[in-house]
């Protein structure tokens, strides 16, 4: 019997899935079982194109789920929008899970029918930057990469010929590579907001590399895991105290790092310079709307407040679109980095949205996307 609060270590019973999985294939097996046993009608997974490219698919085909094993650290998509309007199970980085909950608050996702298998996340990288980094820092041809891992603060790449090369993430980030900026100040590393929280932190001894540590966060999580055990898809065992302690330790180191980097990434700006700062940062905006389209917490359709009051014929120094978005997302922005990723003018829009949102979220002791206990507050602080 699986119970809420359980801390387990497990893996897929199918050897093939286990060996292809990022760490034991448990996540894939849980998703496949949810589909096979009719817990859900669809599963959202990543369809691999290559090591640096994958596309989220919504599938009812177990084979497609089984083919989706592996963690793609260089495919920084947010999966929440793909789950809308369906009875689904999905893998979810902490920011995916946060966005699912924010959409749930706004009635766009039915949380009772959405099963969220959380993945710990030390950060994701941009595919093109990663390829460049492989050439310049690792001296590896991107085409030769067959796998990647993050261990002890190092980013490891495995190549076709079985070799591994590791470089400290700090060193990579100093050279302008490594994780996306949003991931550097992200402090939610274990998805305690998901139904299950899975990852390789805390997997030790013989099982290291071939099993997943899994914390059962709620009843849905217990159902998901129980279902996979009943289906014969996974085997689990209780995690040892040592494993639990190691996982907690790594998590706290990562959280501390995120907090330190946040201070570096958001230097103070005197109040009187704030407006000027935002205007200057946004002055090359071409009004493409991609930052809205991609935003996983935005629940407005085409007729949104930010677009409604905005027209290119207006000559405002800063567009109405951005003014409205800054205000409107102040209670829901999760700092996921999607908007910066897709901005054609390379405007650090995530940093701007976060700089605006974080102070008012903190004052309310409110972190978006964590649970349904507190409704969105929508209060603005010009700090």
């Amino acid at each position: 019997m699986v119970e809420v609060g359980d801390m387990l270590v497990g893996y897929a019973t199918d050897e093939n899935i286990r060996s292809r999985g990022a760490s034991g294939g448990l996540v894939t097996a849980v998703l496949a079982a949810a589909l096979e046993k009719g817990l859900v009608e669809n599963v959202v997974v990543m369809k691999h194109i290559n090591e640096f490219e994958a596309v989220p698919i919504i599938t009812d085909d177990v084979e497609e789920v089984l083919a989706s094993t592996g963690s793609l650290h260089s495919v920084p998509v947010n999966l929440a929008k793909y789950a809308m309007g369906r009875k689904v199970a999905m893998p979810a980085k902490p920011c995916d899970a946060q966005a699912v909950i924010e959409q749930g608050k706004r009635g766009m996702i039915d949380l009772d029918n959405t099963y969220v298998v959380g993945l710990n996340c030390g950060g994701s990288m941009h595919p093109v930057t990663t390829k460049k980094m492989l050439i310049e820092m690792y001296d590896i041809d991107p085409e030769d990469v067959v796998g990647e891992d993050i261990e002890k603060g190092k980013l490891i790449f495995k190549t076709k010929n079985g070799e591994e090369k590791a470089i400290a993430i700090d060193e990579l980030e100093e050279a302008g590579f490594g994780r996306r900026e949003s991931c550097r100040f992200c402090t939610l590393k274990i998805p305690v907001n998901a139904d299950l929280a899975c990852g390789n932190w805390g997997v030790i001894g013989d099982l290291a590399g071939s099993a997943t540590f899994c914390q059962v966060m709620n009843e849905k999580g217990a159902k998901l895991l129980g279902n996979a055990i009943d289906a014969g898809r996974i085997e689990v065992q209780p995690a040892s105290d040592k494993a639990i302690a190691i996982r907690a330790k790594v998590n706290s180191v990562m959280e501390d790092l995120g907090n330190t980097l946040e201070k570096e990434i958001f230097p103070d700006i005197p109040d009187e310079e704030r407006m000027q700062y935002y205007m200057e940062q946004m002055e090359d905006c071409i009004d493409c709307g991609a930052c809205k389209e991609v935003c996983p917490v935005c629940a407005c359709g085409d007729d949104a407040k930010c677009t409604m009051f905005h027209s290119l014929v207006d000559n405002y120094k800063m567009s109405m679109y951005h003014m409205v978005r800054l205000l409107h997302l102040s209670d829901s922005c999760i700092g996921c980095g999607q908007c910066s990723d897709v901005c054609p003018s390379d405007i650090p829009i995530t940093l701007l949205q976060s700089r605006f949102a974080i102070p008012s979220q903190r004052r309310r002791d409110y972190k978006p996307g964590m649970n349904l206990d507190t409704p969105p507050f929508f209060e603005v602080m010009l700090k």
């Binding site: 990723d341 897709v342 003018s345």
Partner: protein, 486 residues
């Protein structure tokens, strides 16, 4: 039907932005970001974001009646057999492979495929490779000084980030675009004769301009000279998804520009026109005038993957699959071959049948594709040309009660697609001169008619009125208009 996901390239310009098109069970389209695409990192401009509106499925027609594609191809063969005074046009708005299959039809008919850029004919052929040859977009970021002859924000938006990156790397940017650019260090207006002395370029510099169906060949020559004299690299941006491919793989000799084709129809030397993804109603500056011209044709045969206005006028429409679903490739402005993930060859098969019906060669996708890939390697050449003679370029001074209405060609304009661009740009002097009121309109009148427009005020040279949208008063690149407040 399951959701289909296609890896494709944005048809809005020749930057070649990669993206996914998702087609759901009901056939509704959505774009998704393909972050591994090196040209754009998955980023898209306004046009790219609106692609679902752009992809509209065409229907095959014969003499105004819906038909299946085989019937349409058969009807086209019948019309083309023995026809005289023919012309063919393909501007580069489809795949390399379709362009080559279209060229086989031209071979069977003993004519060439025109790509519609008249400037090529006016410029010595030894310069052509410098115009059509690709330069890596990354090179922009490495230049120490950049001279811009286009407005990147409006015309080629995915250049903006490259230019900003160049600035971060220490570059200075001098802009000669028609409106002041925020990213430029200097916004200047310089006479072509003074480019060399005034712009401060050297062999670490880059000139960025463009070449399109309405480009003034004299400006191309001036800039080629500037590149030659300063040693700066020159990059010609282009408006269509395969503009670079069609010039690399097509025949460059004996080409007609769009205006020449229209003149040919007007003087009766062209009676039959066959087009491939090239709608002259959209491409010509004035839609009504273009329609009047096309009405004079005996036969208008349109092969297209889009439902565009010219289909209504055509005698025959051969409707092919949407661009994103085609098997095939495009060559972007860098010279990169970008492949579609689609596997459909409806268009190529139709062209193959047509070519065979006319006694020409068959086209098979894989053979064409392989041949095309081989020639990619062969065709590159180092630029070799000597200084070109240029005429003095003159723009008529605007009259007292008006201005020069200038089109800022952009992805929306090339396919006459609606955008939030229903206004013109004027400067403060014009506002004062005409007594324009806030919230009021400006009336523009030319030989072609009259239109009332909203306006916005920016820093642009006196006497200029800029439009990003096709307007019924436009007669050419620059149209003299009478302007009044309303």
């Amino acid at each position: 039907m399951k959701e289909m996901i296609y890896q494709t390239v944005c048809p809005g310009c020749n930057i070649g932005c990669g993206l996914y098109v998702r087609e759901n069970e009901e056939g509704t389209l959505a774009v998704d970001f393909m972050k591994s695409s090196s040209a754009n990192l998955g980023k898209l401009c306004r046009f790219g974001m609106k692609l679902p509106y752009h992809y509209s499925k065409a229907t095959s027609m014969v003499d105004g009646k819906e038909a299946d594609i085989e019937t349409a191809v058969k009807a086209a063969s019948d019309k083309l057999k023995g026809a005289k005074n023919m012309a063919m046009l393909a501007v580069g708005a489809t795949t390399n492979e379709e362009h080559l299959a279209f060229t086989k039809i031209a071979d069977a008919l003993g004519i060439v495929v025109n790509t519609g850029i008249g400037a090529y004919e006016e410029i010595p052929s030894e310069c052509h490779s410098s115009i059509s040859q690709g330069i890596p977009l990354d090179d922009i970021e490495k230049a120490s000084r950049i001279a811009l002859f286009i407005d990147p924000y409006v015309q080629y938006p995915l250049l903006v980030r490259r230019l900003l990156a160049a600035k971060k790397n220490g570059a200075t940017i001098v802009s000669l675009a028609c409106q002041d650019l925020n990213l430029a260090d200097e916004n200047v207006s310089v006479n072509p004769a003074d480019y060399k002395t005034e712009l401060g370029l050297d062999d670490n510099s880059m000139i960025i301009t463009d070449v399109h169906p309405h480009t003034d060949p004299e400006q191309v020559k001036n800039l080629l000279n500037l590149a030659l004299m300063t040693g700066a690299k020159i990059m010609f941006m282009k408006p269509f998804v395969d503009s670079t491919g069609v010039h690399l793989f097509g025949k460059t000799a004996g080409q007609m520009g769009l205006q020449e084709i229209m003149d040919g129809i007007n003087d009766g030397s062209i009676k039959t026109l066959v087009t491939l993804n090239s709608d002259l109603l959209e491409l010509m500056p004035n839609t009504d005038e273009a329609a009047k011209t096309l009405e004079k044709l005996d036969n208008l045969i349109v092969m297209t993957s889009r439902d565009s206005p010219v289909n209504e006028m055509a005698n025959i429409v051969i409707a092919t699959e949407p661009l994103y679903a085609k098997a095939g490739s495009f060559m972007n402005v860098e010279g990169q071959v970008l492949n579609n993930s689609g596997e459909s060859t409806v268009g190529i098969d139709a062209m193959s049948t047509l070519s065979q019906n006319l006694g020409g060669e068959a086209s098979d996708f894989q053979t064409i594709h392989n041949k095309m890939m081989e020639s990619v390697l062969q065709k590159y050449t180092a630029p070799k040309y000597s200084e070109l003679e240029c005429k003095v370029m003159e723009t008529a001074a605007p009259s007292e009660d008006g201005g020069n209405l200038v089109s800022v060609y952009n992805p929306f304009m090339w396919c006459d697609q609606t955008d939030d661009n229903d206004f013109v740009i004027v400067n403060m002097t014009m506002v004062d001169k005409l007594g324009l009121r806030k919230g009021g309109m400006i009336s523009l009148t030319s030989d072609a008619g009259s239109v009332n427009m909203r306006y916005t005020v920016r820093d642009i040279p006196d006497g200029l009125i800029l439009t990003m949208k096709k307007l019924p008063v436009i007669t050419g690149n620059t149209t003299e208009v009478k302007a009044e407040a309303v």
